[in-house]
Symmetry: D2
């Protein structure tokens, strides 16, 4: 069987997560996330982000986290602004539009967007014949595996606050981002700079589950109604609470992210040492080496990965490491690379 | 702590389910439910219902199963018909309306609805100033814990087919229903009589997860798009596939349902023996004894359960048993009942 | 051809309205309701209701007025409360649900609803598993042709304000209602008691058009976006502004309503004098006499009208007069009634 | 007051249209477009397009025509493809997204789109993580005032049919387009090549109103439900039927369009004779001369028109003529142009 570098959700869950689920046996708990495990996990999130006032809600996945949060914030005629490569614009099958809202796009640089491009868009939307952009969606890390610096995120946050825009961060790969050596942000920084974000479990060792964090008091009201209304409230909310407790109580979450990042670093370095370039610098657990197309064809016999960009005789492919990637898999790939 | 008879999702998951999740370690799998475990679980469902042509899709919970299926079937002006006590009408926070569709209601008898009442509704909706009812929603077991007989479901199915209505069954408690001694339906009967249904995992031993089954070929197209579009596609779909494989491969699903039903039978009998009546006969794992209100107040000191119906000095309460309910809990309740 | 007592929109428009449209020739005006005619008409509305701060917007019809207003007010999980006979619940083909919101119903008395029944509904909706009722919809006159008294509307308004509910009035037949001898409300009273309402033109002499009035400052923001967003903004908004100017500047609107009401009064009295009862007292321009079914069949040969309520050998039918109903039509009907 | 070249809906309605509305006096008619006038107007449309089987429905404006048609055709996960300058993408305040659907865009040439660009988009949307494009939206004339030739529209139609896409044409300015000397299409050609389109009244002499034409039998079912469901059904549908009868019975519609086109031709020629270039050739009643910015500023003192494209010291502006534009207004502009 081929080794899979397609994504960071190819392995089920870290053993500690599964042990936490098994440990409680038939202990009874309240339904719908009102259990003590979810409560403790929410407190661990609040401690992590150093914001005791934050509201924390657990849901099953990233797309539903995005659509619940975004549709909870916007009035009907309001729109969300996203990078043109943004997950909500490209890869969520119109889930945001299904809630009635347009996704407006701005050109990104390797996945990141900046105030000037957003401002141009805002200024173009000047009357009632166009939607009213009201919320900026970013992700950390981005679709390009890149990270915002503290200065960049602060600029974005300041711009949004000055302009009356909310700022929401999709943190499906937040762990990977914060493990990056080029990222100087902390969880606490993020909580202070955005209005809402989520901390992704699915792509960092959980069986499933994301922790939505609402920082801005104005966005907190009735959020549990909105979760239920979109079908996102789990009867056994405890199943996510237990996982996040296991991930957060002793720093496992960051440890797993760090491993993924370390593996990606070795992987990228090895590929560069073998004489191949990257499309842009590797910053987190996904990166984009440029290979000759015939080499790609040969590599595909042993490894699974996604195409990214056609460049004539060459092409960029996407390689992703995870919390579970063994160094041996990377070494095998690098060996094959040299031999082919 | 009080023993909880509020619902059948107060305990996390059967050990075999959790073992199945733990057993695969870091084995890699395809994302989004395209993995081999989900594939095998889907085949087990097809075998169970004796319908090799059925499409099977796994999602995380009942509300999202309902909204994905219902909104996948209806054109914008079409409506779903439900019992006035139906879960989609009462307890899903407008999740169906959020997809743009009205839920029309008909009066039920202990949770069940019949062709004559539906036909009256259909005939009242005779022109374009009213929605067009196009789909009938029922649940098995019902909100009243009752079950349709084969004759009743056949009547309903015949009526729907003759009238051009689709028939969809919410099977959140399908296991419990089919374990009922008064239910003469089989999985295969149901598959032959409805257009779509789901087999509930969450309320019968799974950590989470429901298996949507689409029987009618006309409703199958693009269903994976529709799952993703509502945020219901799990990145690690394998997490549900593995659970259903564990539940179905050796009959565990029915065994757990049978336990819940057996406990409810003993429970109901004990209560009747103690001199109390039921609101209507106990058919599955939830039933409704009628107690004096002061007795209810005392029972609440040791047990959690839901109010159901105010009847003056008396009231009906809802008691629910689960796959995990120990006989000792029931005996304790019955003892207390006698002592108070 | 049969004379039509089915509704009050069977005749096109009062001559003064059409003259106002013809009078401006090819005078140019701003598009989208930003013209001076709409501006003057809005001022006439503000003068009529004695509320200089009100926002006034013109749209083409009642259903779209209702759906724009209601969907502009509610957050996604919030619901509107309506009489079970309410137009938005029965006769708008799910237009409110199409914007994502459930319509909750309370039992009405001849079309009117009262705080106790609403309060029961509100108290039943106590947690996040149910929609959150946030807006009460009433109509004046009601579907039963009845009117709220000032005391009744004040009670309703006080209840809503105390309970945190918005109050919206569908005024498709507001003119007819305020012409009623049993109605002691004024336009100004209404503006002070509700959060938003509309003054219906279509059913009182206009070619088409309704004037939405927003009284509550919190509901005013971005309303023009919301009108456009639902397709309700007319390129030639002037076409409605001109009509409302014609209807309001010299009291034509009330004069036409008064005529309809006067005709209905004579009509109802004549029917009662002929020995037939009404289902409930005639208060506005529509009322419900009870006739033997064979009489109804004969009357239908010469007159068009709607069935209302089957009562065995007898049935109640709905008769409607309009701004254009000639006394001769009523006399002819009464003559036929005596002869048959 | 400034003369207004901003749009073709700055004058109310052609006298013949208003006369038709006035002529019927208090003649009674059936509500909701079931009247004889609408029926006759629909027949006139069928004759015009030489398609006796077409369904014809009248609504009040272009945005609501677009949203009713598009949302009637698409399943929830399906998307509409539009030019990036398309009215539904830019200038309808998210009205399509409000019905739950994404608008995907392709780059246009002066407003027109072609199969190769659409095909690239279709091929990029290859799996269930992306919306499924199912309908192509074009307008005739386009936002650039350009027209498709018969060959171009035939290519587009063939491509759509081969690919399983529906083709819908926004005909807000269809009259102007078919009056163009560079357009070799007929109404009948269009009806044969698209699945649905609308013939715009508002921008060509009507007070308001558009005639939706459904050519493809598969798209006809329940369309009146869908009109009502979006609030687009006028109680006095006769008001639009009468107007279209007046416009179509003696060729007035085309005569008015011809006038607008003739005026635009003189206008554009005059501007070019005065030494200024057009952004691209004038084909219909709107065109885009390029002027120095200081000249624009001076012209604005006497004329109203929209900015179109900033080009440094120069800018393109949009000039629009209508059915009512007098030659004197154009001459005055041209005189001023020479004098400034």
């Amino acid at each position: 069987m081929k080794y899979d570098f397609q994504c960071d959700y190819s392995e089920l869950a870290h053993p500690s997560v599964l042990e936490a689920l098994s440990a409680i046996g038939t202990t009874q708990f309240e339904g719908y996330g009102l259990d003590e495990f979810s409560s403790r996990a929410a407190n661990l999130v609040r401690t992590l982000i150093k914001m005791p006032s934050a509201d924390v809600h657990f849901v099953s996945g990233g797309t539903i986290a995005n659509l619940v949060v975004i549709s909870s914030i916007l009035r009907p005629h309001e729109a969300v602004v996203a990078p043109v490569t943004g997950h909500i614009f490209v890869h969520e099958t119109g889930a945001i539009e299904a809630t009635g809202h347009k996704v407006c796009t701005v050109t990104d640089k390797n996945g990141k967007i900046y105030p000037p491009e957003i401002d141009t868009l805002i200024k173009e939307h000047h009357d009632e014949h166009m939607v009213k952009p009201k919320l900026v969606y970013i992700s950390l890390s981005t679709e390009g595996g890149t990270v915002y610096t503290k200065a960049e995120l602060t600029d974005l946050s300041n711009y949004c606050r000055k302009t009356g825009l909310y700022l929401y961060m999709d943190g499906a790969r937040l762990g990977a981002a914060l493990s990056s050596t080029v990222c100087d942000l902390t969880y606490s920084d993020i909580a202070g700079l955005v209005d809402a974000f989520y901390i992704g479990g699915t792509k960092n060792g959980a069986l499933f589950g994301e922790a939505i964090v609402i920082c801005n008091d104005h966005l907190k009201a009735d959020f549990r109604f909105l979760i239920k209304h979109r079908g996102a409230m789990l009867a056994k909310g405890a199943a996510v609470g237990l996982q996040f407790e296991a991930l957060l109580k002793d720093g496992l979450y960051d440890k797993l992210a760090h491993h993924a990042h370390e593996m990606a670093g070795k992987f990228a370095t090895g590929i560069q040492d073998a004489g191949y370039e990257l499309l842009f610098p590797q910053e987190t657990n996904l990166f984009f080496p440029i290979f000759p197309k015939d080499l790609i064809q040969k590599l595909r016999q042993s490894y699974a990965f996604h195409d990214w960009k056609d460049m004539g005789d060459m092409a960029a492919v996407r390689l992703v490491t995870s919390w579970a990637t063994p160094e041996s898999a990377i070494n095998a790939f690098l060996d094959d690379l040299k031999q082919i």
